[in-house]
Amino acid sequence: MVPLSWYLALSAVLFTIGVVGVVIQRNVIVLFMCVELMLNAVNLTLVAFSRFLGDLNGQLFVFIVMAVAAAEAAVGLAIIISLFRNRETLNVDEADLLKL
């Protein structure tokens, strides 16, 4: 039986790597991928606790989180496409003015 702390440690490490990626990345698509990485780390925490408490609510939560992540990915990528159309660059450092 793998202890709960192992799953939580892996989830924390993945979440931290996602945060580091969001901070250091300059490509907006890879930045968005790091956000998805963070969401997956949280999913692992929820499922681990659901198993170790014998409670199904964690897995239901994960179901909803996945649906929300899918919707967010669709809209976020549409925003990225329109950002690229307006500025011809995917570098977030260059998108520093609200004005075009």
Binding site: V2, L8, V30, N43, L44, R51, L60, A67
Partner: protein, 202 residues
């Protein structure tokens, strides 16, 4: 050290290596492949946690739809390898490493206290009411349509909003809007990436 521990360590190591790959690769398509590897490792870990339905949904929805969307967008926008970054703050790299080690030490210190004996999970084929078992499709459906029907319906409305929003945001603008954008960019180049049609032509 049983087989399940070795399996967990193998999957965890692969997931962490792939996650580092996501943030450190220069070519975004390699980052996407790294993220797909992470998703598959997490799906395998969900299987060890009696979450069969969530594992299948992870592969189908996350790796099979969301990552395909990412790969399509990378292809559409013709994203190249990143040119060498001008590091204006090189010294930060030397702070980041020790801070990461410190964070890992803090996580280890906290998580030492968490372990409790895990409850035994009943085989869903052997209990009287299968809708209370953990992780099966029947139990998730039972919970979703009785206790959690409101979040379920709200999620479907959310998905509808996402569809409409994505279609509106990614539409081709009218000619007047294209002209305005081109004028705003000062004629540095066409606002509409002209290579998009080249990719579609066979």
């Amino acid at each position: 050290m049983e087989i399940i521990h070795l399996l967990f360590l193998g999957l965890a190591a692969l997931a962490v290596v792939a996650a580092f790959n996501v943030i450190l690769q220069r070519n975004p398509i390699y980052s996407a492949i790294g993220l797909i590897v992470v998703l598959c490792c997490l799906a395998a870990l969900f299987l060890t946690l009696h979450a069969q339905f969530i594992a299948a949904i992870q592969i189908i929805v996350y790796a099979g739809a969301i990552m395909v969307l990412f790969v399509f967008v990378i292809m559409l926008l013709n994203v190249r390898e990143e040119e060498s970054r001008g590091d204006r703050q090189k010294y930060l790299k030397w702070i980041a490493g020790p801070l990461f080690i410190a964070l890992l030490a803090e996580i280890a210190a906290v998580l030492r206290l968490v372990d409790t004996p895990a409850p035994a999970i009943a085989n869903p084929n052997q209990i009287a009411d299968p809708s209370t078992s953990l992780g099966t499709v029947e139990s998730i459906a039972h919970g979703m349509f009785t206790d959690y029907v409101l979040p379920f319906e709200a999620t479907s409305v959310l998905i509808l909003m996402a569809i409409v929003g994505a279609m509106y945001l990614a539409r081709r603008g009218s000619q007047a809007e294209m002209d305005r954008i081109e004028k705003a960019l000062g004629g540095q180049g066409e606002a509409e990436p002209s290579t998009a049609d080249d990719h579609v032509a066979v």
